[in-house]
Symmetry: C2
Amino acid sequence: MTQFGRTVRELRERLRQEDARFSLRQVAKRVGIEPAYLSKIERGDVAPPSEATTLRLAEELDADPDWFLALAGKVSSDLQEIIRRRPELFAELIRQLREAPDDAILRVVREVRDGDW
Amino acid sequence: MTQFGRTVRELRERLRQEDARFSLRQVAKRVGIEPAYLSKIERGDVAPPSEATTLRLAEELDADPDWFLALAGKVSSDLQEIIRRRPELFAELIRQLREAPDDAILRVVREVRDGDW
DNA sequence: ACGAGTGTGTAGTATATACGACACATGACA
DNA sequence: TGTCATGTGTCGTATATACTACACACTCGT
């Protein structure tokens, strides 16, 4: 599972082509971790970092937080909390949607957004 | 957060009134953990156990697995995997439903179940 | 009185998580 | 030819997770 690492590296290198401030060291500094650690993360030498660090990285690299957490093998703790408040309800809903096509889920999202409960 | 422990104890004591096989020791044995450990769990002396152990406990005590995991502060790993496959879609859906009343979510569940995508 | 079963207190442990510190080699630039 | 910045290799560590092992005190039936 070095998918996360490869993605971080690709995003960073891409940004770097137009902005030299996206060197590994400088990104690490802004994110608040050691360069050596970021290096290992990018090469999949260590497991993906904590949720907090992953989120700071996502912001730095302008990536979607939930997507980034997913690449890191995690699910946002705020989503988990929502589920934990009504576990049976959400469990059933999510399992129902396991095989549903993207646009079916999107329809549900829109419907809920416009819904008048 | 001894909510999990208290619930385990209550469920077990209740079952015990009609079946002496639900002593702490015997339940621990069937679940595959040490009695001392289960004792600490029930009194909130330690954090709730792992997902696997929590699920075996839920089955033993005839409790809903997702509800039990929630009490233990967790979200089923299979739900997490479903979310991780399409993180942005599910994140939006779940956040939309954060404040929705139960019956609104139930309507969505039914609708999806009967849906023809 | 004693053996079986009960719950619990104390101590210890293996593994995972999430990093930091420091040194090193390389390449570009003045 | 220094020096500056780059990425990386090695080693160590604090904290959390998820338990086990063993001994103890109590109670209940025989």
